[in-house]
């Protein structure tokens, strides 16, 4: 290669490459910006559309639980999301509390306990379950599960009634927040499991062998090397699941017997989630009614945001130690 040759190769292809890089890098950035734009669009839509009802609202939007946003000739516009927000968080919390440990358990089972073939099959099954429509979960919950659960709630209330959660009186149909939470848990289980399974798969062999070589039992190996490594991923999966649980519409609408009260009692009918409330009210809503529902949607959005921020905070706090 001669000197002239080289300076040519150094200069000549430059323009062409820069173009390719420019186009590609900018379309990548463009995609990112598009996402921000969509999100800004959704946020703006929520804010703009909720404006009219919020300004007309005579009740405190955050502390009140009434819902008559359409008002009338001699009636104030009054609505508030207190009970809805409470119900939303309650339902998602039940789902998360039930699903996360079980999902971690299943993921561990798939990755470290089950025979390999079974594990592959289970992994596939789990992915498949993530795709089952919420209507089907709702249908199953409605037709099958609530009837099965109702007697169990009686027992729960009888023996653990001193805990406010199970105080009773027990719903005679079983269509309670706990039922909704259980169905939500079943729904988000595949999501959390899939994420947890993936991160557990990625725990470096060397870390696991390090523990085993110290004479750790399987559980001790999992505790010292798998769980700490997988923690951020599991939290991420739990947040994805929580996002779905918070926003789940149909299954809750079908299963829960709602009311707009704040009640910690989850074996009794009552409480309501924002998403289900929107679904139940939207078809017949007009004017401020729609606007108020969208305001509720805004609150749901904000709750999701807060939950995600909290999760990030938890994950990043231990970043120093996560490789």
């Amino acid at each position: 290669m001669t000197t002239t040759d080289s300076s040519e190769t150094a200069e000549a292809p430059k323009g062409k490459r820069r173009l390719g890089d420019l186009v590609f890098a900018n379309s990548a950035r463009g995609a990112g910006l598009l996402i921000l734009a969509i999100l800004a669009g959704v946020a703006a839509f929520l804010i703009v559309q909720s404006f009219s009802s919020l300004t007309a609202n005579e009740a405190n939007f955050f502390t009140s639980s009434t819902w008559s946003p359409e008002g009338g000739p001699d009636e104030d516009v009054r609505f508030g999301v207190a009970s809805l927000a409470f119900g939303t968080v309650l339902g998602a919390a039940i789902a998360l509390v039930l699903a996360t440990p079980i999902a971690v358990g299943i993921a561990l089972f798939i990755v470290y306990y089950a025979p390999r073939r079974l594990a592959a099959l289970l992994g596939y099954l789990v992915d498949l379950l993530a795709a089952i429509p919420s209507v089907v979960y709702g249908l199953w919950g409605l037709v099958y599960l609530v009837d099965e659960l109702q007697p169990f709630y009686r027992l729960l209330s009888e023996y653990l009634g001193w805990i406010p959660l199970f105080a009773g009186p027990v719903s005679s149909t079983g269509r309670t927040m706990l039922s909704a939470g259980i169905v939500l848990a079943v729904m988000i289980l595949p999501i959390i499991t899939a994420m947890a399974r993936d991160v557990f798969h990625q725990v470096p062999q060397t870390h696991r062998e390090a523990a085993l070589a110290l004479g750790a039992t399987r559980w001790e190996m999992i505790r010292t090397s798998v769980l700490p490594f997988g923690r951020p991923g599991v939290i991420g999966g739990a947040m994805l699941g929580m996002g779905r649980a918070l926003g789940e519409t149909m299954a809750v609408a079908m299963i829960l017997s709602p009311s707009l009260v704040i009640s910690p009692n989850i074996v009794q009918s009552g409480n309501q989630t924002i998403a289900a409330h929107i679904a139940l009210q939207y078809p017949e809503a007009t004017g401020n009614g729609v606007s108020a529902l969208i305001a509720a949607g805004l609150v749901l959005f904000a709750i999701t945001l807060a939950v995600n921020m909290a999760a990030r905070f938890v994950v990043s706090r231990r970043k120093e130690f996560s490789e």
Partner: protein, 342 residues
Amino acid sequence: VDPENQQAAGDVDCVDGGGTLDGAGASSQENAMAAWKASWEGACEGSVVQYDSVGSGAGREQFIGSGVTFAGSDAALDEAETEQATERCNGSEVVNLPAYISPIAVAFNLEGIDSLNLSPEVIAQIFNQEIDNWNDDAIADLNPEADLPDQDIVPVNRADESGTTENFVAYLSEAAGDAWPHDVSGNWPIEPVEAAQGSTGVAQAVESGQGTITYVDASHVGELGTAAVGGGEEFTEYSPEAAAAIVDASDPREANTENDHAINLNYTTDEAGVYPIVLISYHVACMEYQEQQNADLVKSFLSYVVSEEGQQAAADEAGSAPISQDTRDTLLGTIEQISAGA
């Protein structure tokens, strides 16, 4: 039901060349609409009706916004809506046509009991959670024959905003007097004991619970026990004829314009053989459309809907009450006049 029967849609006035007719609104009409759609489309080649059962409110909104050519609504357009809709209707009259009447049953799940006599006051007190046991004297007095169990009453109401609720509550507040002190709206006015989504939901909840009671579109009663409703000595079981009777016993709405046929139901009528708890779902249309095709299609479709065949098809399919001949004549008179203008 035999599919072949559905083609027997008599003499339908079809539109030449057909076209697509868009409608949206009340879910109460969904099943009747399926029957009408099948017969009308079967009779008129090339004609299609698309009815989105998104709910009355959304239906009215879409109608006002010109999204659809007609709406189904469990409530007539109110003053403000009428005003807005006039614009959409080329400045012409907007009409509410009461072409779907459906009895609302008071249905319950009590072992061994198929029917109970209940007065409006008692129904109100039950749903107001004042009477909370089935062997309450108030119920027993009305049903000396029945062997009422000592069991809690679990009232179930609709969780979604609905025309059924609105009509039921309207009935209670008219007929039960002080026993039902709540405002009338499509949302259940008090804190529920149990609630469920849609007619299917409440029916399901009542079936799966015990000592449960609800109000539900009569087509969803299934195996449940139902109440015969009335005052004094006379109790009437729901039936299509008894339900249709109330329409004739009622007066038109005061605000009605010439061709508008919205009704003020007379729940307290003393007439015999009247079942007073009904849901009336209107077809909302313009008297004048911008496009000829739309006008023709609406005319053709609505004529079929109010026709004897149409009403019978809905009755077979959705358990609705066929309108009386008087009503039909009135409605047809109006539908005839629908036209297109610049």
